[in-house]
Symmetry: D2
């Protein structure tokens, strides 16, 4: 559903009722908008309606800055809609947090440089110096945080400051080996994306490949999720697996797993950049 | 998207234009229908709009027999819509054509007996007697066609007659080793589902596993498609693959491939039963 | 590696040392055996050597009944080898335990009837009557155990007796909804194969699809393992997954999952029938 | 089977016969070698024996430079063995050919820089200047060939010269958009690895994603193979696929496909670096 249009995107959730799609699409039609993509879903367990709608702004007669208020007045308010409005021309600003491992960062930089993603990466933050050259070679600021010489609280305070200065919209933990505090996460709710190297909920915590080896599983996985205050328990955006066998050592699991990790993380980032992810009750809807 | 509701389903295609979703959903709302599922797609290469819409008939005030005409008058006509209307309470009648190989037939009978599918199977047609007992044990009529004692034209004439008598809506070729004539297929356009044991368009024709072995591929596939007059070239409904390696003999390819074939065929049947498949320009849209 | 030969199979494990492959293959050569398949693996963490060896008996000059003792004397003893010897002409006898759900049983019967597997199925045991006709139609004895009118201990005693009478070699739990006692399992160590409908170790216990739905995972799995006294914790033989998305209801997970379950279970049975599975420290080696 | 040992690797093929494994392993034992990995396969259609053997050289009493001759005299000659001998300490030298597309090159550089692969990359050759900075930032020589100002024959002559100067062992075409001449390929038989963006033999030639879109397939693939003089027809090393659906545009196929391409190519390179690939009759054996 990749588009190069100047479009607006609505992510909507509300109690299910008759006429919701009709009401929303009438609003778009009223101002001459042309729908590019529409996906809806009703959660029948909880009777909640969800929708992602993207429309072309070329002929849309309502100015951007009035859309949100107008939609709320005409459509959303009486139906108790929660909604988010995005414009495709607004390029999201993403910070990447890394430690020493480079495979996910390389994958991100590959897409960044080739223009596959519509994203700005103003900075990469790390608790190690190892990846500085790689980052700077791509013209991205590298921020080293010396965790040995400051408290976690101090480090996070500095991080939040610099993220704010660089107008960062969301954060990707690309195999970042530090646990973020609940306070930090509260500043970026559903906007910190992590990659965990197991098919969660199996093998949460450290050393999942070692645990997988010991358990003798025949598949290993990777899970990309939004970070919440509970470790490895946030809403899952994307998962995939690779097959392994008895002849694979732990080193083989790591090697095979890394190919999976980077692809799973990059798919999750892609969905987030597309404003295709809605979080509800610690689960995601990924429209695609 | 499995539902147990008494619902109606519309499959729509028309030239793309503004306000299509709005117009269709307004029609549903006007008579008090509640949308259960809605999926739309716009083919931007050809500027064609497609939609699958399912709505609950419980509160719908328009009688079933008037829906089609009314929709045409109020919505479809002026927008040049082609549409098909189905009711979930109408259980499709499926004939299965087999030869000697049983794995796909077993898979179909398994789903039939367990009630996983909403389908009636009035008869199984075969050019061999081998699977008679299996079929009759499930209370299904078994029709043997002795191809050695009649021409293909005679056989097909008899088949068409018996299919008509049993009010068959669509046909599944579950590894049926005879080629149907263009005349036969014309009686069931986009209503004959075949399983071919390769990832088409590779290895069309006979002996795909032998050809795959000789080419030394590392994956083998299966393809379920609607049958057209051009062999193995009809619109693809579902495909999947399994990995193989050099140690796999042709017999291993057959064994691994059969597991894939039966699952791919059954998924295609499921989509067809759900009225989730739309054919356009020899390609399918599978709404799911 | 499917073969139709009259062959012998050795599964060997021992402390790793120099010259093990040489010593074993020398033994085969000494009596004129022709190796059909050889796979070895060394666990470098624990320094244990594993091997599966299959050789053609056509020209083998040592009588079957002397092979085991002779191999022990000439090769195994001094190297502290544990080994199992099988003959391809000995067709394993398998009992299937079921409850009400039929998809795995159908899949097993499909392979049984088509001759895909070299196996005898003398009986199917169930705590429900539902699947009697299906089983008896395939000429297999159906044993109903009325769990409401006897204690679990009594039931298992009867089961063990009847399994012994029918010379059953191993048992398959094809979605059998009863937990076997440690005592029962002790009679069939690494010879009771279960299918669990999740990617273990995630979602052990009852209702894995419900738990998967609640956690919002994007993949669901199935795991076939040997049953041990600890629930869902035995050595894993085979695993696979299918992708799901937010639009899938719990019923959709069940439907998609069942296709996965039956294939995973049947692959595990196939490996077991091939004498391709070695258990070590609650993990399996699957030679293939 | 990743090892950090100082080891030797033999790739062997010969007419099948009794005692082959025994003879080879006896040779290793005779000089005190410890087998690290052994995999064998017999092609029963053609009666050919294949083997990959890796052994630890730590205690091996035969000097490296005598192994080949000694093995030939003692084991290979009388059994008509063709064999290749490698030493793990010899780091292969790989040249990468690219055009403008960077995703495969990024993936290769990621593994190169992290030390995941035991490989030297002395140079990257390109018919475009686009990727110069990326390459040079990794300390690798970038060679631009201006195809507009020289004939193909001249270009290849220069390429062969520079490859020789840099002692290149094998070449990877990482989405290189030029066709190599038969003469060029003859200099590197089974040592030029290409990535083709389809599941060959389907969609050979240019624009496979466009062709896949037009055919309406539900899976797209990637194939890594050794280059032969017949386009896209060389022995396949690795293949994999991704699922697509009707809502995916050609651009989506490209995006999804690129993730597949880079992983498939890198897996093929990994196998080649491991000396795990044997070519026979235009098919590969990949020991792993």
């Amino acid at each position: 559903m990749t588009t190069q249009l100047d479009s607006a995107i609505l992510l909507i959730s509300c109690p299910d009722a008759q006429g919701l799609v009709c009401a929303v699409t009438e609003f778009i039609l009223k101002y001459g908008g042309n729908i590019v993509d529409l996906e809806q879903h009703v959660d029948r367990e909880e009777n909640v309606f969800f929708m992602r709608l993207e429309w072309d702004l070329a002929q849309f007669s309502l100015p951007r800055e009035q859309i949100s208020e107008s939609f709320h007045q005409l459509v959303g308010q009486k139906r108790h809609m929660a909604f988010q409005l995005f414009f495709s021309r607004d390029v999201p600003r993403m910070a990447v947090f890394v430690s020493k491992t480079s495979h996910c960062l390389f994958d991100i930089l590959s897409r960044y440089q080739s223009g596959q993603w519509k994203v700005d990466i103003p900075l990469v933050v790390s608790n190690h110096e190892d990846l500085r050259t790689l980052v700077e070679n791509h013209g991205i600021k590298f921020v080293f945080m010396d965790m040995n010489n400051m408290s976690k609280a101090e480090a996070e305070e500095q991080q939040l400051k610099i993220l704010k200065e660089h107008k960062v919209n969301f954060i990707v933990l690309a195999r970042y080996m530090q646990i973020l505090s609940a306070n930090f996460i509260d500043h970026y709710p559903n906007r910190v994306i992590n990659i965990h190297h197991s098919f969660l909920p199996a093998f949460a915590g450290a050393k999942p490949y070692h645990n997988a080896y010991e358990r003798g599983v025949k598949i290993i996985g990777a899970t990309s999720h939004y970070v919440t205050s509970e470790l490895d328990a946030g809403p899952i955006i994307e998962q995939d697996v690779v097959h392994v066998r008895h002849s694979d050592s732990i080193q083989d699991l790591v090697r095979k797993g890394q190919d999976n990790e980077k692809v799973v993380l990059s798919r999750a980032i892609y969905h987030h950049l597309n404003r295709a992810v809605l979080v509800h009750n610690n689960r995601t809807l990924v429209f695609s």
